[in-house]
Symmetry: C2
């Protein structure tokens, strides 16, 4: 395989490239041509977008462990079979099930007012009919952690921490801490319930759900997120005097609910035992129809794989599309997959998950062996005309891919622009109309391109020897 | 009073002025100066904005005839008294009361999915537990009207008519027709319930309530509005086959609920029997806190009147601030006011209502006698530096002002830019955070200016004789 230096002036984005002098693997001519054809076709994609539309319309919300998630698996198996994929199947597993039955929050004094709220995933129940108490507000999770228990005991805790809007979603991790920890810390200090300002960036009266830490569930509290405008209202009222709130959360909790990963393949040829895995998650939260989170990801990987399947020649390696189950409630599908496929993880040559909506991909990150970086650069070059700049070599691969990455599987993250992702994520507003078809198709193009290159070149992304890189 | 021709080049907005050669009344110098001082002060307004913040925070939603509307009256009386207004009082009247107890809409087949919905104001009840039937969709109200009753009988009607976004709110009247008429027409054709696409312009899962026609209530149907994304979802599902929906609406309907108009005045001097009325409505729908509709209007007129009250000299005419009750459910406050003040309507020299949110005023419309148009032009000239262009002489004055206008009271409409008004109006999202303080203050400035001029000049806006206009 030839090694060459990146030519100056390749793209407008040149200033974002790694320093000149770094080496780039050269794509064999036929693969180069096929990849460009795939990209062209992907930019006209109908299959992937229709998958999203149909899944979110015909099934709708898909709470992990629910009858709706089961319907989504059955629907996906039928759909992927109809699309002509190989080895379409469900790999089942069991999960602890949680769903909301009632989740009402209201101000009862000084004047009655409804609060737009949603129970956090995994929330404990309040006593029947709810608990009612004065509210104590904390600016952030740290303030609650350091609060005097005497001030908190018998009260309803309210953590009013906001979230910063960023392209990368970097604000989410910080903001989500309060969602994860509020109930536990508030319980330790004798609070009756925990309310948090919704983890999200939109200014509407939309509550944002999501999983909270469930360990120590015995002592855990009922916890709910309230919308941004309701958090503002509560804060303004608290500035004026004591505020009494009622929180009523009733849930359905069961062990051993059915979930499963749906798998479909484009069978490889001479390297068919080697797997290029592209994934998404099939479950969603219950408030919206899970269009951005994560039907979009499923449509992107299905659309990309379908385009490759339609090439005149099947790829050398097997492309495995994994629609993970039960991601939202604790990455159960990812763990089940890793356990079930433990013996072949070393045959997984590359993995990636699309799970950040349908915004345009602006950067392509890798996590390859040092000596395999020229392969990454070759892919990055192919993607530049799509507006994608090279990224670092510290890709996460995506939530469900973490367990594979930790097992040594090379991963990539085609980083999407998520500036508006948390306007919709985990809210009732996560619906099909929020997807921009052109941006969605750019995602399909990126996935089709790198997946095909990884499957067809036979490149070893684990490579850690020094240069020069051996031929494929 | 001098009459002069508008000087060319007065403002950038000159091209929007009436044809040159039209006459403009000249403001007495002292009034001119005071008006400009009022405008400057209004642009720093705190009183009006705080009125909105406090009303929407400390009281919240104010459904007509409810205990909340009563609280709002009590609160307003205390607040207006505290602000130093004269003759603060409630003029009570009774209204038929309607409120939602339950309003749930869900898809039951082919798969269960929740629909974000809200009962329309005045909706009839379904049978207990709801009605369930197949949906029949109509593109617009006209299509339902001309439908064969056999196709509609036993079904749940869905009218999928959208609304056009305009600066003037012109799209509302057309779209609201379906809200008003759906239940009656659907009932005549034997339908079980009526669903409409929310009358609104935002893309979020926010339902939009509002009053429906209540005459013939005996035979009327239960009716609800569903959010835009839910209307999209229902339409997509209907393209795929039959869809069954359950509609459950339970209501509280009572005659003779208490409502009332809250009135506060800046007492005039030598012309104190002559009234300049500036109004708003105090009631709101129940879903949001009625910040834009219409706490904002109340804050604007209260803020404007308060500034005038603080001038060294009280105005010649009495400025009457009217916070109408029960506007949303049928202009009951407007009717009560007109009945109660029938004998002094001829002493009402000018009236206007702020009831279109808090967007900036871009045009000043009048409805004056022909010979009084020079007064209108004088006011329009004063407002130009605020970005306000002259409008026509066909002002409506606002919903609660209609009955005064029809009685011959001259009215003005300071027309606001309502491009985003129907993103929030009548939805849960109508909350204080949606108000832009700078735009709000521009409204206060406009109201302070024309109200002061009307009260202080003694101009007769009814004037219908020919030119030249007599001196004040």
């Amino acid at each position: 395989m030839l090694i060459r230096t990146i030519a100056a002036g390749t793209a407008l984005t040149l200033s974002c490239l790694p320093a000149l002098g770094q080496t780039t693997a050269e794509l064999p001519a036929e693969i180069n041509v096929n990849t460009k054809v795939l990209i062209e076709q992907a930019l006209e994609d109908e299959v992937g977008l229709k998958f999203v539309e149909d899944l979110t319309t015909e099934i709708g919300p898909r709470l992990a462990g629910s009858a709706q998630e089961k319907r989504a698996r059955d629907w996906s198996v039928a759909e992927l079979t109809e699309l002509g994929f190989d080895n379409v199947r469900v790999e089942p597993f069991a999960i602890p099930f949680w769903s909301r039955l009632e989740d009402e929050v209201s101000i009862t004094a000084p004047v009655p007012q409804e609060i737009v709220a949603t129970a956090l995933g995994g929330s404990a129940e309040t006593e029947e009919g709810g608990v009612e108490a004065n509210v104590i507000r904390f600016a952030d999770m740290r303030a609650l952690s350091s609060a005097n228990p005497e001030a908190v005991e018998g009260k309803i805790v309210f953590i009013d921490e906001g979230m910063t809007r960023t392209m990368t979603g970097a604000g989410y991790g910080m903001a989500v801490r309060k969602r994860s920890q509020c109930a536990r810390v508030a319980a330790e200090k004798g609070a009756l319930a925990c309310l948090i300002r919704s983890v999200g960036t939109q200014p509407h009266r939309m509550p944002h759900t999501g999983i909270m830490a469930r360990d120590g569930a015995e002592g855990a509290l009922a916890a709910a997120a309230i919308s941004g405008p309701d958090a503002d209202q509560l804060t303004r009222l608290l500035e004026r005097g004591p505020v009494q709130v009622r929180v009523n959360i009733q849930t359905d909790i069961r062990p051993n609910a059915p979930s499963g990963n749906v798998i479909a393949e484009v069978a490889g040829t001479d390297l068919k035992d080697e797997i290029v895995l592209i994934g998404c998650h099939l479950d969603s939260w219950d408030l919206g129809t899970g269009a951005l989170d994560d039907a979009a990801g499923c449509g992107i990987v299905v659309g990309a794989a379908k385009l490759i399947a339609e090439l005149p020649e099947p790829p050398r390696r097997t492309i495995r599309v994994v629609l993970y189950g039960a991601e939202e409630v604790g990455l159960f599908g990812a763990d089940a997959y890793a356990r079930r496929h433990a013996e072949t993880l070393n045959k997984h040559v590359l993995a990636a998950e699309s799970d950040f909506g349908a915004g345009p991909i602006w950067q392509f990150q890798t996590r390859f062996g040092e000596a395999a970086l020229p392969y990454g650069r070759a892919i990055q070059q192919i993607l530049m005309p799509l507006g994608v700049v090279p990224g670092n070599n510290e890709a996460s691969g995506g939530p469900d891919i973490g367990v594979l990455r930790r097992s040594g599987v090379p991963v990539v993250t085609p980083a999407q622009n998520g500036l508006d992702y948390f306007d919709y994520h985990h809210t009732p507003d996560d619906t099909f109309d929020k997807i921009d078809p052109e941006e969605f198709r750019q995602n399909v193009a990126v996935y089709a391109a790198f997946t095909y290159i990884a499957a067809q070149t036979g490149w070893d992304f684990r490579k850690s020897e020094d240069m020069p890189v051996a031929s494929q």
